[in-house]
């Protein structure tokens, strides 16, 4: 009979990692301490398999106020306006419970925005699921969309766009990424860095319960306790109403200057938030778990520390302001409890029932997390795939093929998704979802912000580096066609098991490609999220990086291009380099040939830069400027015609030029009599 594995292994820590904890503390960890390290040093929290490469991204551009490492990236829009942006994944929870998984994903990303001082003004949802022919994927899809709608609409933040991809590798590993954008005046910017010995830490929001505590609790006993396991909900349930109250409360606290620092609670709950607040400011914190307002009785120290109950924030407040903060929270029907005090030194000390249950260097939870440079190896099969390109016939029935492509869920009309999202709230949506990038105005100014989220897992599977470069270029073009300049990127890197060398290779190649393209387009990467271990039964997802691109315009075009503004009698121009042979990973290859092979054409970053600038310029004058991507020129033309209710005559005999997916191209509709110079 073999003994139970030691507690640290039950919590998913390796022996080496455990040894690291012992070294830091100079002793064996208490149960609560071990729980904290185990979660904070998990892949999800510590990025131990990815951190080594993320420094490749640059964010030293003059308009970046805060780069990666904060709760959200912050950029300067001029005239005292700042924008905060972030992207996050909620993949595994959405497979377990699609509605709540997606809903709590929205909740989490919103907190990352308003914890910076910004009012959230938009959400985008890039989604990846298995083919809709399977009932289970339809169930997941409708659940995810309903969850995003249910939470986003009720919390009062418009969902302004997103994208969707269907492929078999996502059936067991759906990907739910959520991006959010917030706006603030510079004076409202606040970070997590606690300061001021004697300042108090106040927990605001929902009562703490046993949400999200998974696995055996080593705090109750040394072995699995099935009874207590049944008490713990494994699915976190979001409460958008609570979040809305929290948003308004926090924004009012900021306006009244009552907050020294603030941190939202996400993974690892109170333990993470207190540690980050303290270490962020180079301080320590004393925390009293008995002060935490609870939803359940009989919670032990570890449970309170590790709970992932939603809709909670930790605010650092001067002692003289505590009463006012509590009063404000009460008026707005938000619960609050004073749970901690900032101290000198660097120790996070946690007390329950008068006993110290944890005393650790606050910074060690994040700064001393393991860092892995896992082995990297290009997959053997890749060169064979490159040597197996889609075989395109000499002639096809273009009309029949086009209809078949438009019938495919990935290319078809997506209004049934975004009409479930309130995308009109705040009277700022100028170009709504269903076009390329969505465009919002900043009321009271002439400024505008555009956002596009783009991913392409099939192409990424065939060549991660080239695909990542092309994704950045495509996202840049999707905001340029609204008249905006690409301004900042947040990236969501969704990959399989990093312990496999070929997955690590995909990851590193992707980072390299993305970083190179962002440099060439002069766009800073101000934040991102890495989701590893999207793998089931040994099968990894296709590598699925998502680029979230923010575009900025000042002034915003008076009449931005939209897909429904084409009128009869206009000309259609195609701008950008034609090829006619770029079919690897294309919609034609996937939908018609059911083929995944060949090597996608490389990006031409210098051309991409010029094409992007050109599109932004033309967008100021023309009714339709539309990115050419999946399904090539034919689909792009069809989309304009369908939305505008017009037809088009194309004088071009070669169907390959109509359907291939050569990058860096857009079409522009030029009304009769328009006077434009053709340049470059």
């Amino acid at each position: 009979m073999s003994p139970d594995p030691p507690p640290h292994q039950q919590l998913g820590m390796t022996d080496t990692e455990y040894g690291g904890v012992v070294d830091i503390l100079g002793r064996k960890p208490e149960p609560a301490e071990l729980a904290m390290y185990s979660v904070m040093w998990s892949e999800h929290c510590s990025y131990k398999s990815s951190r080594a490469w993320l420094g490749r991204f640059r964010s030293d551009h003059p308009w970046v106020v805060l780069g990666p490492g904060e709760n959200a990236g912050v950029v300067d829009l001029g005239d005292g306006w700042l924008a905060a942006l972030r992207i996050e994944s909620h993949n595994h929870p959405s497979f377990v419970e699609p509605y709540q998984g997606a809903a709590t994903g929205v909740g989490g990303i919103l907190r990352d925005i308003f914890t910076m001082g910004a009012r959230p003004v938009g959400v985008w949802d890039p989604l990846r699921l298995g083919p809709l022919a399977e009932a289970h994927n339809r169930y997941l899809f409708s659940g995810v969309v309903a969850g995003i709608a249910g939470y986003g609409n009720a919390v009062g933040v418009p969902t302004l766009g997103g994208e969707v991809e269907f492929a078999d590798r996502f059936s067991q590993n759906p990907l739910v990424n959520v991006m959010a954008l917030g706006l603030m005046r510079r004076e409202q910017l606040v970070t997590r860095a606690a300061s001021g010995v004697g300042n108090r830490a106040i927990l605001l929001g929902a009562a703490t319960g046993r949400d999200g505590i998974g696995g055996a609790s080593i705090l109750a006993s040394a072995s699995f306790d099935e009874e207590s396991g049944a008490k713990r909900p494994s699915v976190q349930v979001g409460d958008p109403f609570e979040e809305k109250k929290l948003i308004e409360t926090c924004l009012e606290l900021y306006e009244r200057g009552l907050v020294v620092a603030i941190q939202d609670l996400g993974a690892a709950g109170i333990s993470c938030a207190t540690a980050e607040c303290a270490s962020g400011g180079g301080m320590g914190m004393d925390v009293d778990l008995d002060a935490v307002h609870l939803r359940e009785s009989g919670m032990n120290a570890g449970e309170i520390l590790m709970s992932e109950s939603q809709e909670r924030m930790l605010a650092v407040v001067r002692p003289d302001d505590v009463e006012e903060v509590l009063r404000l929270a009460e008026t707005r029907e938000v619960e609050a409890s004073v749970i901690g005090t900032i101290t000198d030194g660097d120790v996070l000390r946690v007390v329950k029932d008068g006993t110290t249950v944890a005393a650790i260097p606050a910074a060690s939870l994040s700064e001393d997390a393991p860092l892995y440079r896992r082995p990297i190896e290009q997959p053997e099969s890749l060169e064979r795939r490159w040597a197996d390109p889609p075989i395109v016939p000499a002639g096809i029935d273009l009309g029949e093929t086009l209809l078949r492509l438009l019938d495919d869920p990935v290319l078809g009309d997506r209004s049934w998704i975004y009409e479930q999202y309130d995308h009109m709230l705040f009277l700022s949506t100028i170009v709504e979802p269903g076009n390329d990038g969505s465009l919002m105005r900043i009321k009271g100014t002439d400024k505008g912000l555009a956002v596009s989220t783009d991913g392409d897992s099939l192409r990424c599977y065939l060549d991660p580096r080239r695909s990542a470069e092309r994704l950045v270029c495509e996202a840049a073009l999707n905001v340029a066609v609204t008249g905006s300049v690409p301004y900042a990127v947040v990236d969501n890197l969704n990959f399989g098991n990093p312990e496999k060398p070929d997955v690590m290779w995909q990851f590193v190649e992707t980072v390299e490609g993305m970083a190179t393209a962002c440099e060439a387009l002069e766009v800073p990467v101000v934040g991102g999220n890495v989701s590893f271990y999207n793998e089931t039964d040994g099968v990894d997802i296709y590598p699925a990086p998502v680029v979230g691109m923010l575009g900025f315009c000042d002034p915003i075009p008076g009449a931005p291009p939209r897909l429904d503004r084409a009128e009869a009698g206009s000309e259609v121009w195609v701008v950008g380099p034609e090829r006619g042979d770029d079919f690897a990973g294309s919609a034609y290859a996937t939908v018609v040939l059911d083929h995944l092979g060949g090597r996608p054409a490389a990006a031409d970053l210098a051309t991409a830069f010029l094409v992007t600038r050109h599109a932004a310029r033309l967008a100021g004058d023309l009714p339709v400027v539309h990115d050419i991507s999946a399904g090539g020129l034919a689909v792009a033309l069809a989309e304009v015609c369908i939305r505008s209710g017009v037809g088009v005559v194309v004088g071009n005999g070669d169907w390959r030029l109509m359907l291939d997916e050569a990058p860096h191209r857009f079409l522009a509709v030029v009304p009769d009599g328009a006077d434009l110079e053709a340049t470059e």
Partner: protein, 231 residues
């Protein structure tokens, strides 16, 4: 200058949009927290859209008991202008200030898109300055926008001309409703025409850049109905 009180419940989210739209039309608006019980300085009241109290239990069910609703009721009874938009309409029905109720959309999905409505009567604070028969393009943004009422109540609404707006298609034809509303009802009023409830959002159609300015005539009608506070 007539001031409009715009009620703010926990969970309301369209209040700033309503203030913006009223401001565009030359009216001054004050946000009033739901616990306020003295609106004597206001010339009219708007209950905006959103999710008051999370829409928990039933949409509008808890909001109707907020202290501010006593004032709303006083206004209603005194014949003074009260407008409920979307969630506001739901609250007015729960409070019994308008008949019927709003339930889940027929297709059980949130609907966010422009719809067309036809003006059925000018006998309400919402449509005083509109023309009967005019077709307006206004956004509908709701999950519980499906108007229901017992048959006798529906008959009474029709007979007494209290249906204010009805869903039509873009040509103005009666081809059904986006959400299953009984008799395609999009907005109703009370017997004295001073309390109106509307499901689509007129404040979201006040500028061409937003896609339509057809909502202006509705809010203008409301502003024109404002009664200055007696000295």
């Amino acid at each position: 200058m007539s001031r409009v009180a715009v009620a703010l419940f926990p969970g309301t989210n369209c209040e700033q949009d309503v203030v913006y739209a009223l401001d565009l039309l030359g009216a001054e608006a004050d946000l009033v927290w739901h616990r306020e019980t003295d609106l004597s300085g206001a010339a009219g009241i708007v209950l905006p859209g959103g999710f008051a109290h999370g829409d928990y239990l039933r949409t509008g069910a808890i909001a109707r008991f907020s202290p501010i609703m006593q004032e709303v009721e006083r206004f209603a009874v005194a014949g003074r202008p009260v407008l409920g938009i979307c969630n506001g309409f739901q609250i007015l029905c729960e409070a019994g200030l308008l008949p019927g109720a709003l339930v889940a959309n027929r297709d059980l999905r949130f609907i966010c898109r422009p719809v067309h409505v036809r003006v059925e009567t000018t006998g309400s604070v919402l449509t005083r300055h509109a023309e009967v028969g005019a077709v307006l393009r206004i956004p509908l943004n709701s999950y519980e926008g499906n108007y229901v009422a017992p048959p006798q109540e529906l008959d009474s609404l029709e007979r007494t001309g209290r249906v204010v707006l009805r869903y039509v298609d873009e040509r103005g034809e009666a081809t059904g409703s986006p959400n299953g509303s009984a008799n395609r009802i999009a907005a109703i009023t009370n017997a004295t025409g001073n309390v109106a409830g509307v499901m689509p959002h007129p404040e979201r159609a006040v500028e061409d850049v937003l896609g339509s300015a057809d909502g202006r005539v509705l809010l203008e009608s409301f502003v024109a109905s404002l009664q200055p506070v007696p000295a």
